[in-house]
Subunit: 554 residues, 2 copies
């Protein structure tokens, strides 16, 4: 049964492997929520499915549940009132280990086949997941659909493709024949078996539960490990639906559905720590704060730990042909999901002497005002703006905007609350732009949310140096630069390579620094403190399994 | 210049990549010390080169040396009296970082080309290195030549092949074109750059300085990192020669020779710790004790740490066609280099009810006596025996034999000192075989050296269970089993896969459990406490470099 899944999806798998090598554009999951692609009733069905979850027990039976949990609140202003079974950490790891006993025997084709079938079914449920993502993370619907659905599925498939590629390199049965001069050769038979590490733990975040959760989930699953998914207490639903779909596929394929388990829990309890330190847990994928990520790296020593943490993302503005399109592009990056992206730009380095453009010199203040004006323009119409900004996921982010204001820096663009035409109680907030000086220690840390500092530097060379030191110390998941000077572009690229952060150069069109495309852009580099791995590459999958061989005389 | 090296060796590199995938027999470096292969004068030249080192300053100039070090003693009974420059750890890492500045820019072809040329020259100097290995480790000459020369070179090449394969998958410049329905597609150019992690540290051991040192050295070097080689104070010479050859190739290729540095130091100083904790050191390859390996894993948190540590290797004897050939094979494994191999068998599990053979039932005592008799026979002629046993590297191993005797267990075969026909003062010791009970806690740890326990178990099922628990707790680098029963063989294989240890089944001919062949046998699995990595696989190389990309509108 499970190998049928492999055969059904083998063509897509092979395309995915080829795409990850070529790194041109490729995606099997349409990012357009068009009824022609997803079906005429897909949107209505997805919304209805989401609404049906509200106010009820989530339809997931787990053995050993000690109670119920769940207190999700839509950032658009209503309680979800969904209850999930809560299973104590030791019961979860025991069940996961039990499920591993048979799952580990199934082998790479079965593991990968099941993973691919889950991804296919996730894609079919993209609308339902989009509503679940929207009303836990606060993303606008289009982002919730694209990033939470097909783009997340792409990242999952990408991890499966890398996993398959690495496992497929391990031969099964091999003959070994060593010449012995005039004597008969020594002949051995050798059998190589791919074995999983054990139980994998995926620790989800509150802003991109599926996009950041799927790579680790699918990388571990496709390499024969069992997986416990521990969602952020504020964003359980998207991963609960994911786990349900996965368990359904596992059961159909004849496997113990407990290969995939949900560790729903309440805020402030110690479920994450208890799971992370369990000796059975051998793989951990984490997205979240640097404090928690560093804690895992230091303490969960029995596991391979893959972390994506915080960073301080920078933009270097040196010169531009058309500054208006620069400002338009950046304003969108500032406002997109109210800066609640690990890739959102924060520190915008501009020489205090200003910059050259095709339309002449712009002073520092003109550049700063130009960025502010672009933000104002983008957010002028609340009905349109809310589709870009979405809502603020966490009230701590609202407080952070207050804290940023309290720094006393000159305000270039005030953060405004916008009314949402559909959701009266939605927490919508436009970007706050502040003017800062390069030496200000306050900007040398992440200000998660719609908070941007336009930073006066001595020169572009100074900007580059500041960026390089900041990335080395604090990490970064994105870097953007604008220059019309090829030599400067080369210097920024070299500095980016030294610092270990990927660079977007002169983005003015429909590509934004906070977005990466699966199969082409690596998300993170694994080479600076913001993340110890990239999504996805060989290093992300190769240590999730090991090879055990048996040899004997032929 | 350096790319010439790549072109010269490209054919061998491609064969190596293919061999590591196919895992049949392959080696480009002849293990036969025949004059027809290495040249008529190769042996004399190698010995003369070794003798010329004795009593002198080793010909290596390093900047910043604070003094000299070196107190190597041949286990065959004489002082080497070689002095090496000692450079303080901070000066070494500073020079290594300086050398990294240009080395990192050279790119994969140059890195791999230099690595391959070094390997070629190491091969040409195999005799010189063999004498250096013999008279630091105590290996018999043939083992010193094969394991210290061509087999070590094979393992180095294998690491380079994996490194090249992973880096070659990263495209350089790529076009990305995303369809936009009726509109023009979005077109981007993307450039991907392989960047090294930083400074690599290779911590050598006293028993296999080159065989265990080359994989990490070449894996790090071929991925663009600089490398500091820190030999064990008792076995500096083989790695000093290696570093000298490497520096010569680097200089010829126009690179800073400090890409490769030697950290010779005296016993008991803190050079290893100081280097391992230096923030510039991003990769560490270690072979040695579990205590030191675990310390590195816990404390050198800024680095990727690859360790090969201690284990308790087991043999399970269930049944045999020809017990004499079983005993002959095992006796050789016990005696080979006096058990000073991380893969040497230690605990031999035999059912206390005895075993079945083609010649009828053998009682436990008959099995135990058969093993002892085979050891006695193998070591009866001292002149022949010393070629197998070599000499004892460390006096602590002699003491360990005393400690094993003091356990008071029944002696099956006494460890004898043998006279060496060539070296009067050589520390030669035959294996000690003791009879033990399965429950004895004393056998649940490594007894490094020629110390073997023949362990009475309740049954083969009991033997398998004991093995599996022991590997999970204490690790193992090898496992051997003898059975004529296919079902039992299947059970052992399954248990080995669960425990994460590779299995040799029914070895009776010219293959021994303590030997692995590069390009075919993985050395270690990375799946039990004896080692966190295998030599070599994708996981061993994939995280030694990262990829930084730059993208811009086409």
């Amino acid at each position: 049964m499970s190998t049928d899944f492999f055969s059904s999806h083998q063509a897509v798998l092979e395309q995915a492997v080829a795409a990850a090598a070529a790194r041109g554009y490729w995606s099997p999951f349409s990012e357009s929520p068009s009824p022609r692609i997803y079906g005429e009733t897909a949107n209505d069905d997805g919304r209805a499915a989401f609404e049906a979850y509200r106010g009820h027990d989530f339809p997931l039976d787990l053995d050993g549940a000690s109670g119920k949990t769940g207190a999700e609140v839509s950032p658009f202003g209503f309680d979800l009132n969904i209850s999930y079974p809560q299973v104590p950490a030791p019961a979860l790891t025991a069940q996961s280990q039990q499920a591993l006993e048979s799952w580990r025997e199934a082998g790479p084709r079965a593991w990968v086949g099941v993973a691919l079938e889950i991804l296919k079914r996730l894609n079919q449920r993209s609308f339902e997941i989009a509503y679940a993502v929207q009303h836990t993370t606060g993303q606008g619907f289009m982002m919730a659909f694209q990033a939470g659905g097909p783009h997340a599925q792409d990242r999952g498939l990408e991890a499966v493709a890398y996993a398959w590629q690495e496992m497929a390199r391990i031969p099964g049965l091999v003959s070994w024949e060593k010449p012995q001069g005039k004597h008969d050769p020594i002949r051995m038979q050798k059998q190589f078996t791919v074995v999983p590490r054990g139980v994998g733990l995926v620790i989800g975040c509150s802003t991109f539960p599926t996009w950041n959760g799927y790579p680790g989930l699918f990388a571990s699953l496709a390499t024969g490990n069992t997986v416990i998914v521990k969602p952020h207490p504020a964003a359980i639903l998207p991963l609960a639906i994911t786990v349900n779909i996965g368990r359904e596929v596992l059961a159909e394929a004849g496997f113990d559905p407990n290969v995939l388990l949900l560790a729903a829990h309440g805020a402030q309890d110690d479920t994450a720590q208890a799971l992370a330190l369990d000796p059975a847990v051998k793989l951990i994928d984490f997205t979240g704060s640097s404090a928690n990520g560093n804690w895992l790296e230091s303490n969960a020593r029995q596991a391979q730990v893959y972390t994506e943490k915080a960073g301080v993302n920078a933009v270097i503005i040196d010169s531009a042909d058309d500054f208006k399109s620069v400002a338009r592009n950046l304003a969108f990056s500032f406002a997109l999901y109210s800066g609640q992206m690990c890739t959102a730009p924060q520190n915008i380095y501009v020489p205090r002497g200003g910059i050259e453009t095709a339309d002449g010199h712009l002073s520092f203040d003109e550049v700063a005002q130009g960025l502010a004006a672009a933000v104002e323009k983008l957010t002028a119409d609340p009905a349109k703006a809310v589709e870009v900004t979405g809502a603020v996921q966490n009230s701590a982010t609202l407080q952070r905007i207050q804290d940023a204001r309290a720094l006393g820096l000159p305000v270039l663009c005030e953060s405004r609350s916008l009314p949402h035409p559909q959701f009266e109680q939605a927490r919508v907030q436009t970007p706050l732009l502040l003017k800062a000086e390069a030496g200000d220690p306050q900007i040398a840390r992440e200000w998660f949310g719609p908070i941007v500092f336009v930073v006066a530097t001595d020169s572009t060379a100074d900007s580059i140096g500041l960026m390089q030191r900041s990335v080395a110390l604090h990490g970064a998941l994105s870097l953007s630069a604008y220059t019309t000077d090829k030599a400067i572009a080369g210097q920024v690229q070299k500095a980016a390579e030294r610092a270990g952060v990927s660079l977007s150069l002169n983005l003015t069109g429909g590509v934004f620094v906070n977005q990466t495309a699966a199969f082409s852009d690596f998300h993170g580099t694994g080479a600076n403190p913001s993340a110890n791995a990239a999504l996805s590459d060989s290093a992300y999958v190769a240590n999730r399994f090991r090879v055990v061989q048996t040899r004997w005389h032929a």
